[in-house]
């Protein structure tokens, strides 16, 4: 059973389009994240939700809008796609929301977005 699953795995689209990436976790975690990994392999946090509530919102263009319908799902919608949005987007979840435990992140397999 896949713990953190993302769809689609690959997404190729034209500039200006709107697209969504979906994420689901079956680990029972309260916290979910979106990370972006660029061509230089840096993983940068974008958003974090705890039990459907937005708790981390990094400096991300407001063309990016996360939505969490329930604590097991966190989707990412991107409007008016630009060339610079091309990257791999990773969803992750974590069981901890405080200083207890390891803060271990469980990542999905990634969604590779290519904007032409």
């Amino acid at each position: 059973d896949t713990a953190v699953s993302q769809t689609p795995k690959y997404l190729v689209t034209q500039m200006g389009n709107d697209k969504s990436i979906k994420c689901e976790q079956n680990l029972g975690h309260d916290t979910m994240y979106w990370y972006k990994q660029d061509s230089k392999k840096f993983l940068k946090i974008m958003f974090s939700y705890n039990n459907k509530e937005l708790i981390i919102n990094e400096t991300v263009p407001n063309r990016f809008s996360p939505k969490s319908p329930d604590k097991a799902h966190l989707n990412l919608h991107i409007n008016s796609l630009e060339l610079g949005d091309s990257a791999v987007y990773f969803c992750a979840s974590s069981p901890q929301t405080s200083g207890r435990g390891t803060g271990e992140l469980f990542f999905g397999e990634g969604s590779r977005l290519t904007v032409l």
Binding site: F42, S48, I56, G99, T102, F107, G110
Partner: protein, 113 residues
Amino acid sequence: SQKIEQNSEALNIQEGKTATLTCNYTNYSPAYLQWYRQDPGRGPVFLLLIRENEKEKRKERLKVTFDTTLKQSLFHITASQPADSATYLCALMTTDSWGKFQFGAGTQVVVTP
């Protein structure tokens, strides 16, 4: 600005030897430091966490050290195997920003038989 640096050059090592990776940081006072493994086309997988008040952590053939004076963590893979070939990422987090891990770019390790 805060910076996390990992050696961008791949580390080529012979099977059975110890691989040592470094994670250096500046303008940062992390309370937690994690190490992840990432295989091509896959998501990172958590390996170890070490806290600022801990000097060393071990898990099987892995060992992590954390020197807050040097602002450096070392990650060791002992008795390396070809299956250890991957990119290894360090991630840092401060006490007041739980969950907001900042990642290094990673170091690729290639273990040859």
